[in-house]
């Protein structure tokens, strides 16, 4: 299909063009109809009629130019552009699609939009850089004060656990909405800050998008081995290197050459230590539907075991109340298995009493490949449990 342009110079030429309008069988589509001498007439001509139209014009000595040589090609290109641009630029966090999985850039773009839309509540901190030099961003939600007691939430530390990063994005928006509507966590924000690291392992996340959807670890390289990556949930300084992690670089639970060898871990350690006032720490994983508290590296129960167990029971009940999703809870070592060098074992030992880990949906049917339509229900129910933990922390500050 082509689009021809004719600029009638005389009444005869104008008449010839107008004749074309009458020839219905040609199925011409006038983008710009004949209006007068010297004014362009643009005709969209379907392929079967091209010969006839050109012949008609040439026979009458009416000159024309081909404005668009291939309409379909243009349409195809535009479609691609549209797809590309809807992927790249939701206009704001209200048009952002929370029901889909996103790329790192889309999530970083989301964060910037959220900050831009809510400059008095949200700020973005860069706490470090990953092995491959990607920025490690943390969103800070604060209504003021100086170094208020805070809650930390991280998602995506294991890159293949996609529902967690997706939930993190949803949580960020939820916090802003609650604050705007003066409900939910608005009251918590009166006296506490919330820190949220959505893409805690960006190198791994990028790798799951480009190369291996089931990649778990970081992407650090180690001399003496062709294998890549350290398990960021075995790299913390709590029972580091003991039973419950692997010393083999090729293993999925490789603890790394030494504690905090991974910048993704070290940056959080440094942040927590320098902040000094974090009162609750929640690290989010998938899958298994569990709420866990320390320890993973030892059978010794934490001193606050009873309280943590009770809070877990309440949190899990709140979670289930929404869609009936069943969770189990308990200490890491008694509920799943021994795991050393884990995040919340370290944070607990730092004095952060309310240290919890979630394992989100499901229980193995889809596992890591949780269908996108479950993102929002998962985030919604998890949020209820998080609120229980946050409220308990606020009401039991220490």
């Amino acid at each position: 299909h082509q689009v021809l342009r004719i600029v009638p110079q005389s009444d005869e030429e104008l008449q010839k063009v107008q004749e074309l309008q009458g020839l219905e069988h040609l199925q011409l589509d006038f983008w710009l109809g004949p209006r007068g001498l010297g004014l362009p007439v643009d005709i969209h001509v379907p392929f079967p009629s091209l010969q006839a139209v050109k012949a008609h014009l040439e026979a009458a000595g009416v000159s024309y130019s081909i404005m668009i040589e291939d309409v379909q090609a243009l349409l195809d290109e535009e479609q691609m552009e549209m797809l590309r641009s809807t992927r790249q630029l939701p206009l704001n966090t209200n048009t952002f699609n929370y029901e889909a999985y996103h790329t790192i850039n889309e999530i970083y773009n989301f964060m910037d939009m959220l900050v831009a839309e809510n400059p008095n509540l949200v700020s973005k901190l860069e706490i470090g850089r990953s092995t491959e030099n990607r920025p490690l961003y943390v969103l800070k939600f604060s209504t003021g004060g100086t170094n208020r007691p805070a809650i930390w939430i991280d998602t995506g530390i294991h890159s293949r656990e996609w529902v967690t990063q997706a939930s993190g994005v949803w949580f960020a928006k939820k916090i802003v909405q609650d604050h705007a509507n003066n409900e939910g966590v608005a009251s918590i924000l009166e006296t506490m800050d919330i820190f949220l690291e959505i893409v805690t392992n960006p190198d791994g996340f990028a790798f799951t998008q480009t190369t291996n959807r089931l990649w778990r670890k970081t992407r650090s390289k180690h001399s003496g081995s062709i294998c890549v990556g350290v398990d960021p949930n075995r790299n913390w300084d709590a029972g580091f290197g003991e039973a419950g992690a692997s010393s083999s670089p090729c293993s999925e639970t490789y603890h790394g050459p030494y504690a905090n060898s991974e910048p993704e871990v070290k940056s959080i350690v440094d942040f927590v230590k320098s902040h000094g006032n974090i009162k609750a720490f929640v690290s989010i994983h998938s899958y298994s539907q569990l709420l866990l508290y320390p320890y993973g590296y030892t059978y010794t129960a934490v001193p606050d075991q009873q309280e943590l167990h009770e809070v877990s029971a309440k949190a899990v009940a709140a979670l289930s109340s929404l869609y009936g999703t069943q969770y189990k809870y308990g200490s890491i070592i008694t509920t799943i298995y021994r795991a050393s060098g884990g995040t919340i074992d370290w944070t607990y030992n730092q004095g952060i009493k309310y240290s919890f880990t979630f394992e989100l949906r499901d229980t193995g049917r889809y596992g890591f490949l949780l269908p996108a339509k479950q993102i929002i229900p998962t985030a919604e129910e998890t949020w209820l449990a998080l609120k229980v933990i946050m409220e308990h922390t606020r009401d039991n500050l220490y």
Binding site: Y101, N212, S247, I336, Y366, P371, A372
Partner: protein, 197 residues
């Protein structure tokens, strides 16, 4: 049980994989002997589903897959976003059933599995009534967190038990590449520190 091993008493319910409806209860005892031999299992289940209904569903599934002009093939089921093409659902269902047999054989008192993804599937057209598929399935191993790649050949005819042959890649110091088969070594010559037990 001193001198004998560990004995587990299980009471569990089952549900239809597709619909989630209750499919009955089972009572079982599983004895893991001290030596590394497969467990001794005794099990008794009650079935809530009607045999005839099961047969009809099997036949429907079978008909869908038998009457293809081209062999069915597929990759990455579910895909990265958790979607399964409608047309590939029967093939996925068979993979779930077949890999459960692999997982059953591989699991131990301390090692369990889930089906992470069907990496690829290819149908082999047969002259007889059986349908046959070649699969590469990825199993998620707990607690090691490893992704094990297994090749599975599955043959089936309704009314007959599923025939499954499999071969799982040994864990090795292989490169991690794009194929998605996550390999890693669970053992070196030295004693594995994180035995993951």
């Amino acid at each position: 049980i001193p001198e004998s091993g560990h004995k587990y008493y299980l009471h569990f319910s089952t549900e239809d994989y597709r619909t989630g409806e209750d499919a009955g209860n089972c009572l079982a005892t599983v004895l893991y002997p001290k030596k590394k031999s497969p467990p001794v299992v005794s099990i008794k289940c009650s079935h809530t589903k009607d045999q005839k209904e099961i047969q009809e569903e099997d036949n429907r599934l079978y008909q869908k897959m038998k009457h293809q002009n081209k062999p069915i093939t597929g990759n990455n089921i579910p895909d990265s976003y958790g979607s399964i093409e409608l047309a590939l659902e029967p093939v996925w269902a068979l993979a779930v059933a077949g890999s459960s047999s692999i997982m059953w054989q591989k699991s131990t008192e301390t090692l369990g599995y889930f089906l992470a993804q069907v990496k690829s599937v290819r149908q082999w057209i047969r002259k007889d009534d059986f349908i046959e598929f070649d699969y590469t399935v990825l199993l998620h191993e707990i607690p090691t967190q490893e992704i094990i790649s297994c090749h599975m050949r599955l043959t089936w005819l309704p009314g007959h038990p599923l025939k499954v042959k499999h071969f799982c890649a040994a864990q090795s110091h292989a490169l991690d590449e794009g194929s998605g088969a996550e390999s890693g070594s669970a053992a070196g010559p030295a004693a594995e520190k994180g035995a993951n037990f």
